[in-house]
């Protein structure tokens, strides 16, 4: 699992005068699914084409099993396959297209037919084997593209936003296929995506690419718990609406004044420094205000009024004003139990370790990407350059009580 099979070092590429990619080092390990997550235009697909040795960067070195140059390219061609966002098919039947890669490898026709049939059965598209390629729907076409790659049993599978052009249902189906089949049939997978749910659901490690640079590389848990900067905090679903001034710094534990409310947070900033605080709406713990009266053990406790409620499927997104103004995400049943309607009062708790603090000058989650500010009342991802396809946070809000008492 830890053997690095495909390594890119000092990869730099420029178009005209602009540098579109500048990655010091990235490695795909044996047996892992490495997701490269980033907004549109971050250089993700460019990086994939370089690592797949389909195109050459302006400078840099790519090694496959320690080999470089033509030998590595030939070896990678024979050991890899790719699925693109808009895969190209050659006119003909599905069976012809799925078997194309095997014909490149001079696999005998009877074996090709058997392998094509087997992979199509596995992906439940065997009923389409004799269908003309132009008759397929987008979702079917993308599954055929996946079959065409997986039939090769590649040591390295490159997936360039395979679900991006699909509707929600087809996307869910394909994601399930990726989880169920791709990991069995391919040795290692490099997945390019701008969908954070996809990355966090499927990947063993995630590389966040921003403006052509690798901003952070780690396991989903590492990225979730210790986002390197506000941008990655935003990528992992955090809100960045809180601003304040550091009153006291004790190592990495900070006391920050946010609009008159003092919050304990974690981060690296000196006293008197203006900071912004990232938090995840699902980390806010809401309860009936009476339950919190007299409580002194919770460091971050404040009372707030519900300003706005928005139902998103099984979840409810609430805009609360204390101060500070925050956004919370709770389950619909919890919202009903607490009767969370506009003007309702609630107590809000959040752990200090769930508040990540960054100096106010650092790159923001969306500033500079879309030019839009992170308004707390914005849709979860409406302004964000990285999309979350479904309103499903990594962990739903914990509800600790209702009007009658604590709830599980």
């Amino acid at each position: 699992m830890n053997t690095e099979i495909l390594v890119g070092e000092r990869l730099r590429h420029s178009y005209g005068r602009g540098t579109v990619l500048d990655v010091e080092r990235i490695a795909l390990r044996s047996g892992e699914l490495l997701a490269v997550l980033g907004p549109n235009g971050a250089g993700k697909s460019t990086l994939l084409r370089f690592l797949a040795m389909l195109e050459k960067p302006s400078s840099g070195r790519i090694a496959f099993h320690g080999r470089t140059g033509t030998a590595a390219e030939q070896a990678l061609r024979a050991a890899s396959a790719a699925v693109f966002q808009r895969p190209h098919f050659w006119r003909g039947e599905v069976s012809y297209n799925v078997g194309l890669g095997l014909s490149f490898r001079r696999v005998p026709v009877p074996e090709t037919k058997a392998r094509v049939k087997r992979i199509c059965q596995l992906l439940e598209i065997d009923h389409l084997l004799q269908a003309e390629i132009e008759t397929l729907s987008g979702g079917q076409a993308q599954r055929v593209a996946l079959a065409r790659a997986l039939v090769l049993q590649p040591e390295v599978l490159f997936l360039d936003e395979p679900t991006a052009s699909l509707d929600t249902a087809a996307r869910a189906d394909l994601r399930e296929d990726l989880e169920r089949v791709a990991r069995q049939r391919a040795g290692s997978v490099l997945l390019i995506t701008h969908d954070r749910n996809e990355a966090f659901t499927l990947a063993d490690r995630i590389a966040v690419l921003v403006d052509g640079r690798l901003a952070q590389l780690g396991t989903p848990t590492e990225l979730y718990e210790n986002p390197a900067d506000p941008y990655i905090a935003r990528v992992t679903g955090a809100e960045l609406s809180l601003r304040g001034r550091v009153l006291r710094a004790d190592g990495r534990t900070l006391l920050v004044d946010v609009g008159g409310t003092q919050l304990s947070t974690v981060g690296d900033a000196g006293e008197g420094v203006m900071v912004k605080i990232a938090y995840r709406p699902e980390d806010l713990v809401l309860a009936s205000p009476e339950l919190a009266i007299g409580e002194i053990s919770t460091r971050n406790l404040f009372f707030a009024t519900v300003r706005e409620r928005r139902d998103i499927g099984g979840l409810v997104r609430l805009r609360l004003f204390g101060p500070p103004e925050v956004v919370a995400l709770v389950t619909r049943s919890a919202a009903e139990e607490l009767d969370l309607r506009p003007e309702a009062r609630v107590s809000v708790r959040i752990k200090a370790t769930a508040l990540h603090t960054y100096p106010a000058g650092e790159r923001d989650g969306d500033l500079g990407q879309t030019g839009m500010d992170a308004e707390p009342d914005a849709e979860p991802d409406a302004a964000a350059p990285i999309e979350s396809a479904e309103p499903e946070p990594p962990a739903p809000a914990e509800i600790v009580g209702d009007r009658s008492g604590p709830a599980g």
Binding site: G92, Y96, G99, G101, L152
Partner: protein, 232 residues
Amino acid sequence: MDPLFEAFRLIVSGDLQVWRVILRSAQISGSALVIAVLIGLPIGAAVGLSRFRFRGPVVAVINTGLALPPVVVGLVVFLLLSRSGPLGGLQLLYSPVAMVFAQVIIAGPYIAAVTLAAAESVPADVRLQARALGAGRFRAILLQLREVRTSLVAAVAAGFGAIISEVGAVMIVGGNILGETRVMTTAIVQETQRGNFGSAIAFGIVLLLVALYINALLLLLGWRATRRPLTA
């Protein structure tokens, strides 16, 4: 006699002289077309599918070939093959080989230019997809050209049209020798000059029929290429 009636009579009677001219035309233009395809198609594909320095001027040169006057081609080939020319020692002037030579120079740019335009229109994704599935460079090129196969058929048709109807160059380098270098276009010129309008029209009709037949054949080839399903 009515020239049209005379033309009809010559065609159906199987006049040996007429058929010798027709067969010689097919032989010379057919050979020239094959050679022009073998040269023009790879050049057009190579330039159309690749990006290199000074590509622009190369494309301009190929496209200029479309405007090459056949008479000028004939003159140049004549000077090359004439006794005092650099290739005079080969003694090819006034031979079918000289006519093929001239027709290749005329048809080559047509085939290369149309192929180039077609190849340029192939999306870059096609090459990436082919390579990503393990295709070698040559196989990837063939798969890219497959995407524009109807345009390639059109390129061949354009080349054929340029040479089957051409008269100036073949007249200069071939000399219109009966049984040797007389082809349909030069025969039409000669019969018209002699006042044998029936024969001239007969050759004209045959020329059109041959052109129609070849183009229909190419059309069918292109149509089949797009319709025939491919299976594993």
